[in-house]
Symmetry: C2
Subunit: 242 residues, 2 copies
DNA sequence: ATGAGTAAGTGTCTTAAAGACAATAAAAAG
DNA sequence: CTTTTTATTGTCTTTAAGACACTTACTCAT
């Protein structure tokens, strides 16, 4: 799908024919956790609609190279971060005749998580990409309905924090329980009981003790854990379905 | 979007140009509960791809009349059932270059629920639509990846049966608790504790006692309940987020 | 009428998991 | 070696689910 830098060149091409199908894009919402904050990856748009505004690192399906929607999401993320995130899950599809001024359009949104350190270096070399703290998203002008999509993704991630340790994918490979708990607290917007949190994770056997420890300088050092591979949904609530 | 009755007429038109975007459809999975069984609405395909096979009652977005994706789902369901279901929720989007022989295609699937009685009469007048019991879906040849989509929808509905009374939308407006419990048991594939089930629903104040009762002929008559309007997600598990 | 049969609905004890919070352990700094 | 700080554990309380016996309200046959 060709990109246009302004409205004139876009319309010059497209107005000549009837669209016979909605525009279709894929938009990943990539979260990470850094400096005690939740951050989202944004890209400055260089192409026609909403040019100059910040938006999600998405784009059109490349029918030649992408096998499926997830492949599109992965490709777009790789283009911006140079790596593929360890967590990628379809979020929701947003489609209407008002969300894009070009006409009827649909975007399939994905939620992705990865460690800040994994791609911070690469992102700093790219001038049109940045990690935006979610708490300072209010004033920033965003393209299309991307603010709503980010809100939606954040709310879903908040739900996951209630019954799983999926948010741990926003941390480095090795992390401490206090770190993970604080991330959950940021997501949920409230303090959690240390004991309950640890108990649930331990009972569910979701983590592996690496044997290593790390100190923040002050206080007793915390044990470093790693996620157990292939533990599926990383759920730690009792399954009522048994 | 024009429909074609066979491959020749389809290719005659479409092969002349490059597709510049994937095909986009909307496919609602409409469930109901009847004769102690879960049933899904299927239609016999009359148009080219997969012609003659049974499939979901979906179709293309009508860019002239549909405001958004949900409107498309509602319109397609209304075309087959003559009514709009009381429950409609987006399920998942399936997109790949293999699911439709015409090429790259995406479908946005919805889960819908409604009472059997609401549209049974209308469906019986339409020869190409039927309520298919989910237990007898194995042998039936289905179009595209519609079997997978139905499985996906059923699994999601099963999850909802664990922590909500959303399945109640597959029942008539007034229903009894034993009815609802049995529906949940069908979805979960296991018996539930009467007391626990009732306690959770009562504690969550999701239903209204209509004052009426209904007897199956045998035994004590059961109280008829109605869903409380606007109770949102109809969740009856304790919200860990408080 | 009346008692048997049946399914709806309730009481209550047990078990499982979360909340509260005090107590202990392991480090750094002086 | 004591204070400070943060991690980790112990344990009592509270809440919700499971198990299951019991009561209630109806139909039907006698």
């Amino acid at each position: 799908m060709t990109e246009y830098t302004d409205e004139v060149s876009f319309l010059a091409h497209y107005n000549r024919r009837e669209f016979d199908a909605p525009l279709l894009t894929v938009d990943p919402v990539l979260f990470t956790y850094h400096e005690a904050q939740l951050k989202v990856l944004l890209v400055e748009r260089s192409a026609y609609p909403e040019r100059g505004l910040w938006g999600l690192p998405g784009g059109f399906v490349d029918m030649a190279s992408d096998q499926n929607l997830e492949a599109t999401a992965q490709r777009k993320l790789r283009e911006k971060t140079s790596v593929t995130p360890p967590y990628l899950e379809q979020l929701y599809s947003f489609g209407s005749n008002t969300r894009d001024k070009r006409g009827w359009s649909v975007t399939v949104a994905y939620t992705a998580l990865m460690a800040y350190q994994e791609c911070a270096a690469h992102i700093e070399t790219v001038s049109d990409a940045k990690w935006q703290p979610l708490d300072h998203l209010n004033n920033l002008p965003l393209a299309f309905d991307h603010r709503q999509i980010i809100e939606f993704a954040r709310e879903r991630l908040r739900q996951k924090a209630l019954y799983s340790i999926v948010p741990a994918y926003a941390l480095p490979e090795k992390f401490t329980l206090p770190e993970l708990q604080h991330l959950h607290e940021v997501l949920l917007g409230k303090a959690l009981q240390k004991k309950s949190f640890r108990r649930r994770i331990e009972d569910a056997e979701l983590l592996i003790d690496t044997g290593e420890k790390r100190s923040d300088g002050n206080g007793r050092p915390a044990v470093l854990y790693r996620m157990k591979e292939g533990s599926g949904g990383y759920t730690f609530v009792r399954n009522l379905a048994e």
